[in-house]
């Protein structure tokens, strides 16, 4: 048992070491030449008004550029409500003895 705990500790340290190496390779936060500031965000910022015709850029991204994403977000909401309703309604019916 004690050997197993030691093994777990070693594995956890190894995983933490790998993750810390990956974090150390990240570019500094907020620099303008970071790889995240590529043409995608630039296109969203400069072209949202032209492509979607709305003033709210967040709405342009959520409901126009990434409309598929939002559609499946609503399906996630539907699934959550469905799971709660199915679980709780079935329990109530069993308790009521119908």
């Amino acid at each position: 048992m004690r050997l197993r705990n030691l093994l777990f500790l070693l594995m956890a340290l190894l995983a933490a070491y790998v993750i810390l190496i990956a974090v150390a390779e990240l570019p500094p936060y907020g620099m303008p030449d970071n790889p995240v500031h590529n043409q995608v965000s630039e296109r969203y910022i400069t072209g949202a008004l032209e492509d979607a015709g709305v003033l709210n850029m967040v709405t342009a991204i959520v409901l126009d550029y990434r409309a598929y994403d939002t559609m499946f977000e609503t399906i996630v909401l539907f699934t959550a409500a469905l799971a709660v309703v199915v679980t709780l309604k079935t329990a109530e019916r069993k308790g009521g003895g119908k």
């Binding site: 979607a52 015709g53 709305v54 709210n56 959520v62 409901l63 609503t74 909401l77 709660v84 309604k89």
Partner: protein, 141 residues
Amino acid sequence: MRDFILKRVAALILPFICMYGLYVIFHGHVSPGGSFAGGIIVGLSFIAFATIYGLEKGRAKLPETVLNWTESYGTLWYGIMGMVGIVKGAPFLANKLAGVSLGAPGALSSGGLISLIGLGVGIRVASTMVTLFFTMMEEEP
């Protein structure tokens, strides 16, 4: 929670909260906010009503059939709005590519399909919140 003062204050405030939620949904593309936030506010007004006045009166305001309809057909409405693009010969959920007129930026009618899609999402979020709350509240003895 069945206080007289609470009930009167809620009767004064809750209609305006519901109206404000609808305002946030309808103006999601010209002002800060959006359909998700507006749907949460609309759902919150009904949740507060059911908390203060009791579940029976809340159910009377929003019957289960209405909740089932909005719950089931909100995403279908989104899909129908997406099919406009396919009918016009553009990709699914296309807005400008489908040739929908975008209107003047800043006007309430701007954005083509965006406001219609946002209306569906807002109703969807509100009905999900209310359904979850009503279903969990019924479980209490």
